[in-house]
Every structure is written in C-alpha cells, then in structure tokens.
Amino acid sequence: MVGGQPVHALVDVDEEIAAGEHVAIMGPSGSGKSTLLNILGLLDRPSSGSYWLDDREVSHLDELELTQVRRHRIGFVFQFFHLVSRLNALENVELPMVFAGIPRDERRKKARDLLEAVGLGERADHRPDQLSGGERQRVALARATVMGPALLLADEPTGNLDTASGRQVLDLLDRMNEKGLTLVVVTHDPDVARRADRILILADGRVARRLSGEAITHVAGFSGLAGDGA
C-alpha cells in the first residue's frame, strides 16, 4: 500500500514456461522481477490469478502443501548465496535432505556426489568463509538441486561474483538445463540473459518485451533499460 492505494507489483502476466526451458527475466528495479520470481517459487501468492506448476494449480495450496512443493519441485539460488555459515559445504548441501527426513548415509552420499558434480569434491569440509564467492555459489547450486527439483529459480546468481567465477556458475546452470532442469533466471546482466532461450523484459509489472536470447545484443538502447538493477 502506498498512499492508501493498493499497488500491484504485477499485472497481466500471462506466460507459459515449458519444461526444460531456460528463461531470463530482466527489467529495471521495481518492475516486478522479484515478485514474479517469488510467486514462481511459491514464497508469495498472487492476490488474483492462477499459477500452474506441473499441471497443478498451486497458488491456493495450504502452507503444508506449499512446503512440500517447494521441497520437491523447486530449487533456489540467491545473489548472496545464503549458505549457513556454521555448516561446512557438505552439510549445507545436505540441509534440505535433513529436514526432508532422508537417512544420514543416503544424504551424505548424495551431497558428496553433487559437490563432485559442481567441482567441489575436494572442498566438502570447508566452511563458507573458507570458500571463494564462486565456490559458495556452486555449493548453493548443489544445495538447490539436491532434492531433484523440476524448476530452478536463480535471483541474480552472478550478481556478487567476478566474471570468471560467474561464467563457471552460468556454465553449470546451462549444463543442468541441458539435462532437463527448467531454469528461470532474474538478472540485469545482458551476458547472463543472453544464454536463455527467451528473455522477458518487465516494466511496471507488465511484460514489456519478449526477446530471444540471441537477439539481446542487437537491441539498441537495451542497456539503458536493464542497466539500473541492484
């Protein structure tokens, strides 16, 4: 609410994302990117309208059902990693499985496998403060995919990384996408968006433009539109 008037962060977003698709969401701050991502991640509910995930209307599920969907179908990657600082890399990856009640041996093995897959097998017992930013994000990536989600949501995944580690993380995301993981990335970095199959550019809570990934470098004045993000 601003000045007594309800403010709608998103209006008329009518979009279909296919399984295995890679979609980037761009737009200036306040355009509704984060709200869209939160709704997709079931952290927020739309005040009206519907959200179908896996052929199921999920926007009206109760708290416990939402928890189940988040746990099994959706993975999150954040700009600030959000690793638990007192746990080492392996334990951070294990975290979702701990609360899902997966037996110790099984989750330990699975977490180790995933750390190997993101190239951090050697660093399993390092705590986050002993890891570089890129390594932390790769741990976060392993954690986001450890429960075998169908949809991975990434909020500025390279926003806090240097170019080289950012590229490593993006390559990993691409590899996971190629194996069938649906990927939605919010970014204001054209180099990140360029890797997507489709780009949605939001402005004032609406989809202002739709572009294909290759098209982005050819859009005149694009950087002016997207360059004022966080």
Binding site: S34, N38, G41, L43, D44, E63, L64, T67, Q68, V69, R70, R71, H72, I74, F76, F78, F80, H82, V84, S85, R86, L87, L95, P96, V98, F99, A100, G101, R104, R143, A144, M147
Partner: protein
C-alpha cells in the same frame, strides 16, 4: 526429520554462539543450584532435629517447669517459672496410670576434676531409670544404683570423653573425682552416643538427682521424662500431667511436650521456610527463562536469512518452531544440569564445613528443578520460535 537430526542442528547453532549460550545457561544454573542448596538445607535441618531425638523412643513425654504462654518464650527461658520439685515428680509418677518408667533430670554445668585435670561439663542429676528412659548403654561398670530418690550418694557415671580426658590411659573405675566441692566415686562409664537433644552424651557426667540438686543448690528439676506404655497414650498422659500439676500448684505452671509435637512443629516451620526460599529461587528460574528468551530472540533476528532459506528449501513451519524450541530447551536443560552439579558440590562443601548438618537435596527437589528448567526453556522458547516461523521468507532472504 529425525529427532537426532533436530538435536544436532540445534546443538550446532548453540555452539556457534557459545559465549551467549553459556551466559544464558549460567542464569538457569544459578536458579537450579539455589533450589538444590536451599532444599538441601531444609532437609538437613529436619534430619538434624530428628537425629536429636535419636534413640529416645516415640512414647516419651517431657515435662518442663514453666508455662509456654506465661513466659512468652521458650519454656524455661526467660521469666521465673515456678519450681518443679522432686516432690512434684514423685507425686506425678504416683498419680499417673499411664507411666511405665520415668526419670527426673536436674542439670547444671560444673567443673569435674581429677588430680591436675579439670573440665567444665554438663552434670546431670537423675536416677537409675535414666539409662533405660534415654536408651543409653554402659561401656563399663554399672549405672546409678537403685535407691531412695532423695538419698544422694556420692557416685558418678562418666561420659566417654570425660573419662578419656580425666583418666588418659588409666582405668577410672573406682577412682574418685571432684565435682565442684564434692568427692564422688566413679562407678561406670557410658558408651559413646554423640549428641542428643542438644547435649553431648559423651561430654557429661551423671550423678544421683538429690546430690546434683544439693551440689548446685537447686530446688527445681530441669525436666522430667515420662515413658508411657504406648504412643496412643501420649496425649491423654499429657492432659493428665497438666491436670495433676494444676491441682497441686493451683495454676498451670508446667509444659508437657512430646517428640512428635516438637518434630511436627519444627518440620512445619522448616517446610514453610523452605517453600518460601524455593519460591524466591523460582523467581530466579523465571528470570533465567526470560534471559533464554532474550538470547533466542536475538538469535532469531540474526538468523533471519537462515530462516528464509529454510523456508525456501521446503522446511515446514512446525519444523522451524521445533528447531528454535529445541535450542531453548537444550540451553535450559543444560543450565539445569550444570546447576544441579554446582548445587550438589555446594551442598558437599557445606556438609564438609558443618558435619552436624546432614544436608542433602531431596529427590523431589532435584527432579522438580530439572523439570522446571526444561519446561521454562520450552515455554520461553516458543515465542521466539513462533516469531521465526512467521518471518516472511522474501524479506528474510532479501538480507545479506
């Protein structure tokens, strides 16, 4: 999520902020230690009083000169009560049907000496029945002879300590000791008994009651002990004593007490006192609980991103509550255990310093202190835990 995983997760969070955890744990420890020590002292005082009656049977009643109400204090202390004479004693025993055995007791502190050695001890004047009424044993020799009550013969029975100190390495039997001005022959030595009713049996001497009253120039007995046939006769016997003495003296000027009455009165005082002290200690438990709540609230607000993350990876609201409540419960239970250990140590030290006070915490207090500390932790952990569970994940994750 298994219980073991929950414990481990909570424990690591606590270890992650060990100084604050330790401080809030300390608060709980102090409360529990206080409960343990205070109840131990109360229990010790009760045991002490019961021990004082020691071997004396429960069917004993004690008559003291002076009326509790008229002197306005403890019987025999303050005021000038009427005498309770030897004649009164004989009259009483003659007229009381319930009495099986009895002993008049005169008491004074006097100097007992032999050769160069001299000691100030309690001098008891009584009769041959004293031994059985007080349930004492002889170590050697014989006790006072059975004789006319007002015939004070010049014989004495020594307590262990007195015998050893006046006759080191010698046999005192048959020897003569001097009590104040009188020479008396040692006819027996009491077996060691320790302290009963505030008198150290080992550190006293017993002489015939008439001798004692003459020697110390007393008209009044210190007290009269009456042994009735059974405990059920006690109350009636007490009433009879008062009636007989009131008729004889034209006023009620003696006090009759029974062991039960004394122990009951004392134990009710001690219990009330203990309860009050425990109530005060419980306030400190509550304060400790608030301390834990405070620490948990700080922890929740510091770990807001962690809570947001947990929500994002599909951790249910009740699991988040479980995590924080478990942390609080672990804190308070650990505090309770530490407090128990500290309290137990403190009681040990106290008993070491004052061996006469057999202080030991009663089991119910130990269980209650532990139980209350855990319940307090859980209770005060719920509010912070619910706050954590209610956090908006979007806002929680927006923070670095």
């Amino acid at each position: 999520m298994t219980f073991q995983d929950l414990l481990e997760y909570a424990l690591r969070a606590l270890v992650g902020r060990r100084v604050r955890s330790a401080l809030s744990l300390l608060g709980m420890s102090i409360g529990v230690a206080a409960v343990v020590v205070l109840t131990a002292l109360g229990q010790g005082a009760l045991t002490y009083v019961s021990n004082q009656f020691g071997n004396i049977g429960t069917n004993i009643l004690i008559v003291l000169p002076g009326k509790t109400e008229t002197t306005g204090g403890f019987p025999g202390v303050g005021g000038a009560p009427n005498d309770l004479t030897l004649d009164d004693y004989e009259f009483l025993v003659r007229n009381l049907r319930e009495v099986q055995r009895s002993a008049p007791i005169a008491m004074a502190t006097g100097a007992v000496s032999h050769a160069e050695r001299r000691r100030q001890v309690a001098v008891i004047g009584s009769t041959d029945q004293f031994l059985t009424v007080r349930n004492l044993e002889m170590a050697r020799g014989s006790f006072l002879p059975q004789s006319e009550i007002d015939r004070g013969s010049a014989v004495v029975v020594l307590g262990q300590t007195v015998a050893e100190e006046l006759f080191p390495g010698q046999d005192p039997l048959g020897e003569v000791v001097r009590i104040e001005d009188a020479r008396m022959r040692v006819i027996g030595i009491l077996a060691s008994e320790g302290t009963q009713l505030g008198v150290n049996i080992d550190d006293m001497v017993v002489i015939p009651v008439a001798s004692a009253m003459r020697l110390f120039n007393r008209n009044s007995l210190f007290r009269v002990m009456l042994e009735v046939r059974s405990t059920s006769d006690l109350d009636r016997a007490c009433k009879d004593v008062l009636r007989i003495m009131t008729e004889r003296h034209d006023e009620e000027d003696v006090t009759c007490i029974t062991q039960d009455a004394v122990v009951a009165a004392f134990s009710s005082i001690v219990k009330t006192l203990t309860l009050v002290l425990v109530a005060i200690a419980s306030i400190s438990l509550t304060v400790a609980g608030i301390g834990i709540m405070n620490v948990m609230l700080v922890s929740v607000s510091e770990r807001t991103p962690e809570v947001g993350l947990l929500k994002a990876v599909g951790v249910a609201r009740r699991q988040i509550i479980a995590v924080f409540v478990t942390e609080a419960a672990l804190l308070s239970t650990a505090g309770g255990l530490v407090g128990l250990a500290v309290g137990w140590l403190a009681v040990k030290v106290l008993v070491g310093l004052y061996p006469a006070l057999p202080a030991s915490p009663p089991a119910w207090a130990v269980a209650a202190a532990l139980g209350v500390s855990t319940v307090v932790g859980i209770t005060f952990g719920v509010l912070p835990a619910r706050r954590a569970a209610r956090l908006d994940p979007i806002l929680a994750l927006a923070r670095r």
